[in-house]
């Protein structure tokens, strides 16, 4: 292997939110930072639904000036779908807490911040391996070349091949992953605003459970961007992998053509189709690695992402963990080197932050989401109740009566109580 004649204090692998946050923070502090990305431009390999919580990202990047904010999510809609029926709950808030965006644009913005802070960003370079010498990570390998640094921050995303290749983590199993598929559909801006009842830069996040995933564990989402919607679904692979009978692209297609959705999308033009893995089980259920000698792991690669089923916190968690990894490097530098003992501060920083506090709090959520009744029986139950309440011209039942009738043949009382308890404990 040829040693490349440049040296960096820090090499960051992956220009996603985690990698750019780490690189930005360190470059700003005067470290010599290299950020390496395999995509043609930062963000070209990223896929996501699309909403981002503003504050954590703003905190990490010193504000959101110039960030590609499409719409502020002021409307949250959750729908339970069964057959051609759907019950929805909608919250219309007044705060501006999260925004919709294209991750491609957001990642581009983040990488520009890295360059402005003095970091070097290299695209079109795929890191083939970590260089490990005497149990210590000393750099990266690209083809037949190697580049040395004091520390490597691995922010390669969910499919953490570099860590697997270095024997630092076990192979990712399908049990632990979900599959996300997404289309971006372009609509006329005013048409989109009319359809979803939005004004100015208001946006909507719409989550659907039930028939939209063919009863498989998972959910469908629709986010309104400036003049397009991101429409997609996430299916937990786990046990379901055997039942995924169709090519995944067919699932989004079925979603787009769904009788309840196609009315919104009829005039739309499909701009983009993409698919990506999503971690289902995350920290602390997985044997994840956060640090070792000469290495820190941030973002999806470390499983630091919160998937509540009704909400997805990936981008801000990733960015924040990258930021904390950077602070750990700073501290380890003061303490005299990038040893495992010095870098252990990363774990403490994570523990103190919302990242691990939240992940711990919601650690039961993944298991809960495996409950198939959430995707079949319950949407059916709720719609059957609504149907009785509103479609009984002569004999309107009382709510409990409607529930009893709707329940028959669907689900037992005991099961229901158990599910309810589990739900309360999990989320």
């Amino acid at each position: 292997m040829k040693e490349v004649g440049y040296k960096f204090d820090v090499i960051v692998v992956g220009a996603g939110p985690a990698g750019s946050a780490a690189a930005y923070t360190l470059a700003k502090k005067g470290f010599k930072v290299l950020l390496v990305e395999r995509g043609r431009v930062p963000g070209s390999k990223n896929v996501f639904g699309g909403r981002v919580y503003a504050d954590p990202v703003g905190e990490v990047f010193d504000g959101l000036d110039g960030a590609p904010i499409h719409r502020w999510v002021t409307r949250e809609r959750i729908s339970l779908v069964s057959g051609g029926e759907m019950s929805s709950f909608e919250f219309r808030g007044s705060k501006r807490t999260s925004f919709t965006t294209y991750l491609t644009e957001l990642a581009g913005w983040m990488a520009r911040k890295v360059e402005e802070a003095g970091g070097v960003v290299l695209t079109e370079i795929t890191v083939d391996g970590l260089v490990v010498e005497g149990g210590r990570v000393t750099g990266i390998r690209v083809g037949d070349e190697r580049l040395t640094s004091d520390v490597v921050i691995d922010a390669e995303g969910i499919n953490r091949l570099l860590l697997e290749r270095a024997g630092l983590v076990p192979k990712l199993s399908v049990r632990h992953t979900g599959l996300g598929v997404k289309e971006v559909i372009k609509l006329q801006r005013d048409r989109l605003e009319d359809l979803f009842g939005l004004e100015g830069d208001e946006g909507m996040a719409w989550l659907m459970l039930g028939d939209v995933t063919d009863g498989l564990p998972g959910g469908a989402f629709l986010y309104t961007n400036r003049d397009s919607v991101s429409l997609g679904l996430v299916i937990a692979l786990g046990d379901a992998v055997k039942e995924v009978g169709r090519h995944v692209s067919r699932y989004v297609e079925a979603l787009r053509l769904h009788p309840l959705l196609r009315r919104y999308l009829r005039d739309g033009r499909i701009m983009e189709y993409s698919a990506h893995l999503v971690p289902e089980y995350t920290w602390p259920d997985l044997p994840h690695l956060l640090y070792t000698d000469g290495l820190l792991v941030a973002g999806d690669a470390a499983g630091l992402l919160l998937n509540l089923g009704y909400n997805f916190r990936g981008v801000d968690f990733a960015a924040y963990s990258g930021y904390l990894a950077a602070r750990a490097v700073e501290r380890a530098h003061e303490m005299g080197g990038m040893t495992s003992e010095n870098l252990a501060i990363y774990r403490d920083l994570l523990e103190e932050s919302f990242v691990l506090r939240q992940l711990r709090k919601f650690r039961r959520a993944p298991r809960m989401r495996e409950n198939r009744r959430l995707y079949g029986a319950y949407p059916g139950l709720v719609n059957a109740i609504m149907d009785q309440l509103f479609n009984s011209p002569y004999e309107t039942p009382k709510v409990m009566e409607a529930l009893r009738r709707a329940r028959e043949g669907r689900i037992g009382w005991l099961e229901m109580v158990r599910d309810l308890l589990e739900m309360v404990r999990s989320v």
Binding site: K2, V4, Y6, V41, V120, L122, E124, E145
Partner: protein, 264 residues
């Protein structure tokens, strides 16, 4: 030392270029650009010659400043240095004005060999190589698949449909590389780093070049594009038969007979 200049064009990344039906001009907005793929093959040939015989490869492009990313790409492949030729004064150039500027740039750089791509994916005139050779008054061979040096001469081969021609060229000369003949190499970490850290890209405007305003840009472009017509899409019936494959086959055959496309 062999001084090789290679020309690359920064083009919209699409094979189906959108044309504004009203103005007849290319819609470039929103489409990310790339190095014209056939020019990467020219770069590959230039690099192979340099690797074999020594020398220096300089990439040039006449483009808006965003083409810097394209130059960084070919520097990543191993090109030694690059010149971005960029000035509003060059805008609106036809192939004549383009080739004039490129010829002047190459003259200023000094050269033994110039390597171009066969054609571009966005205009596909294949004019520029021939025109640059004419400006410089040097030999030109188009559609080259192989090149090697022998006794100070360049031996090039071109493969036509059923003949293979070999030429011996006095240097300096210009060749255009036949597309789909060479596989461009991957970018290397060290090269890419050098491109970022040692800024081997120079930008030349018309201040450096001092070319006659009448010979460049719109003014220096005598070509008049009289008309652009969109070729209408052939209407398709889009009939889909679902069901048993046997029945589908029968249905299809019947359809083809019905349409007079199949005779029995």
């Amino acid at each position: 030392m062999l001084r090789i200049v290679v020309g690359i064009k920064w083009v919209p990344n699409t094979t189906s270029v959108n044309i504004d039906p009203k103005t007849g001009t290319l819609i470039r907005e929103g489409i990310p650009s790339v190095v014209n793929p056939h020019d990467l093959e020219a770069v590959e040939m230039a690099l192979r010659l340099r690797d074999e015989y020594g020398g220096r490869v300089t990439a040039i492009t006449m483009s808006p400043p965003s083409a810097r990313a394209g130059l960084e790409h070919v520097l990543g492949m191993g090109v030694d240095d690059a010149v971005l030729v960029s000035d509003r004064a060059f805008a609106g150039a036809d192939t004549l004005a383009t080739s004039y500027v490129l010829a002047k740039v190459i003259e200023r750089l000094g050269y033994d060999l110039i390597v171009f791509g066969q054609e571009t994916i966005d205009s596909s005139t294949a004019h520029v190589g021939a025109q640059v050779a004419s400006w410089l008054d040097i030999p030109y061979v188009y559609y080259v698949t192989h090149a090697r040096l022998e006794g100070g001469r360049l031996i090039v081969r071109r493969s036509l449909e059923n003949v293979r021609e070999t030429y011996e060229l006095e240097l300096p000369a210009l060749i255009s590389v036949a597309m789909h003949t060479l596989h461009p190499r991957r970018v290397r970490l060290s090269h890419k780093l050098r491109a970022k850290l040692e800024s081997p890209i120079e930008t030349w405007t018309n201040r450096e070049l001092g070319l006659e305003p009448d010979c460049i840009g719109l003014k220096g472009s005598p070509t008049a594009l009289s008309k652009i017509e969109m070729i209408p899409k052939v209407p398709r019936k889009n009939e889909i038969f679902r069901g048993d494959p046997r029945e589908a086959a029968k249905w299809l055959v019947d359809k083809l007979i019905e349409e007079g496309l199949l005779e029995v």
